[in-house]
Symmetry: C2
């Protein structure tokens, strides 16, 4: 298969992207890569750093979407950016998936406008793994700040297919993030979403899930709007860092503690690493008709390799086709429920 | 001063409440307590457990609001509950503050209907201390699931007075919880709230705050709606527990690690305790015209004593009067801004 990789997106582009590309190609014999970006820059850097371009081609793209560019730039002022060119190549069938560590908003806008959503899907969403007791897929984790009950239902279906296919979870338990477990809890949108999800035949809905239950395996797929998802994701990130910093403070506070730290150093590093979501690869934009993956902005070569692996698994398992089918069968009854509700009102 | 205490509310009532009451009275010579609850039960228990009732009176209340009762019960079916009787006594001026570890929803509904909001305040909110690098007051942390921009502005004013008066923070930095720091970020409600807060002369507004910045002292008062606040509060609670559990797993995994754990045991216990918000006393219902405090449902005697201390400080510093004054001067210009905005549209 051929995967398209944005060579210019992310804090450490292009060097770490190119190194990651080389690692991926060497590790996955079935993968070819098409790199989008400034051809001369890429060639010069690969020569200087002795990075092999075996099984890679370069699609020249003179511009770069920066983190400061508005989301629309990829289809407006920066059509010829590495991101714009890559998305167009994906839409045209010149590759099987697109991976970028660049501007998230621009990538979502570009993917929606250039690659389009799956038929029937109202809004694509960013799905991110929270590294907890079991991996939890949070969807939406940042894209749709306001949502409708139907969006939330669709997020549940999309996330469910992803966890089933990519993480081998049978009948993934889908939870709705809420401020209480009772079904009447939350905003009117959440109350209505709860009804839709409880009646949807293609998801294993386990009801409302509270924040305190997230780490302890309450669900495999955590459905929420992009605002709450973003706040939760960043709170988890900040709090993990904060606690690790506090621990470090304890371990460095005196000689006895320093000795204790030495004794368990490797285990603590493993704990710290277990909170590193980049181990799980990129975050898929679920609901886009072809696979688009967002790697973390600060991705190093290994994180890029992991994102390529995730995209490869997605393609080889035919996840897009399964999503198509599941959305079609999942939404029919939801539409019926909505009609019934309207009749009652 | 006389503080009214719900003797029947909370998981450990009435025993731990009564013990906490006795601790508070013995520690704070200026405090008298009025306990609301089943008089015979209280008297019998105090005799059996040898709990002194010095400087305490009992206001008999035959009913108890349970955690399962609907929020309206305190003013409907259970008017004569320890909570209902306590709130009515506060409204009638028979005490200076009311403290309960009972049903949060019922307490807020009862406080709003029986004690009423400060003049000009649209909605009261629960304010909770997050125990981070510096204590952060999150308001609303659970009451108002949907909010208007003006509610959020008022939460900022209320929280600001609280941190200034109770925690001695000069010009508390007020942040708006959002999914990005730029002023255009978030829902339309948040964009509008940002404008109101930036133009409010009685708060020190520092702009939008992301989840990852909460632990690291980005602000002293974190303004949010009650839905997001509840999710954040519970996520922080769950994640802290989860990380502490993981640490315990590391420390118990082999003999070497067990030895290391022994060496730093007291420091780890201190770390665990630093995440215990009950050290900070009860959560005030800010915006209610008289002081109402919610102690955690699982409060033990010490947590009750801390909640009594917090209520005592609130009363002795005259926080209610300062809130009255600050709301009046804070809202006048906000109203002008709104009028200007309307003219433009």
């Amino acid at each position: 298969m051929k995967l398209i990789l944005d060579a210019m997106g992310g804090d450490n582009a292009p060097l770490e992207i190119l190194k990651g590309a080389a690692m991926a190609v060497s590790e996955y014999p079935d993968v070819e890569l098409a790199l989008t970006g400034q051809k001369d820059t890429i060639l010069a850097l690969c020569e200087k750093e002795k990075i092999s371009l075996e099984r890679m081609e370069i699609i020249d793209a003179p511009e770069v979407v920066t983190m400061e560019d508005p989301a629309q730039s990829v289809v407006m002022s920066k059509k010829n950016s590495s991101m714009g060119v890559g998305l167009k190549a994906l839409a045209a069938g010149e590759g099987d998936a697109f991976i970028s560590a660049g501007n998230t908003g621009a990538l979502m806008t570009g993917a929606t406008l250039l690659v389009r959503c799956v038929k029937g899907v109202k809004r694509a969403a960013i799905a991110t793994i929270l590294p907890m007791e079991n991996p939890v897929l949070m969807i939406d984790s940042g894209s749709n700040v306001t949502v409708s009950p139907e969006y939330l239902l669709q997020f549940g279906i999309l996330g469910s297919v992803y966890m089933e296919q990519l993480f081998g979870v049978e009948k993934p338990r889908v939870g709705l993030l809420n401020n209480g477990t009772e079904e009447h809890k939350g905003t009117p949108t959440l109350v209505e979403a709860h009804k839709l999800m409880a009646n949807c035949p293609v998801i294993n809905f386990v009801g409302n899930v509270e924040g305190k239950a997230i780490p302890f395996g309450a669900c495999d797929v955590l459905v929420t709007d992009g605002f709450t998802g973003n706040v939760v994701l960043k709170t988890v990130e900040g709090l993990s860092k904060f606690i690790m910093k506090k621990l470090k403070g304890i371990f460095m506070s005196n000689t006895k503690n320093k000795l204790a730290a030495l004794m368990i150093n490797s285990d603590l590093s493993a704990l710290k690493k277990s909170f590193d979501a980049s181990e799980y690869g990129g975050a898929p934009f679920l609901g886009i008709s072809k696979p688009v993956f967002k790697a973390h902005g600060s991705s190093d070569a290994k994180a890029i390799k992991n994102a390529v692996r995730q995209a490869r698994d997605y393609v080889s398992k035919g996840v897009s086709a399964i999503i198509d089918e599941r959305i079609t069968s999942g939404l029919a009854p939801a539409a019926e429920i909505k009609t019934e509700d309207k009749k009652e009102n």
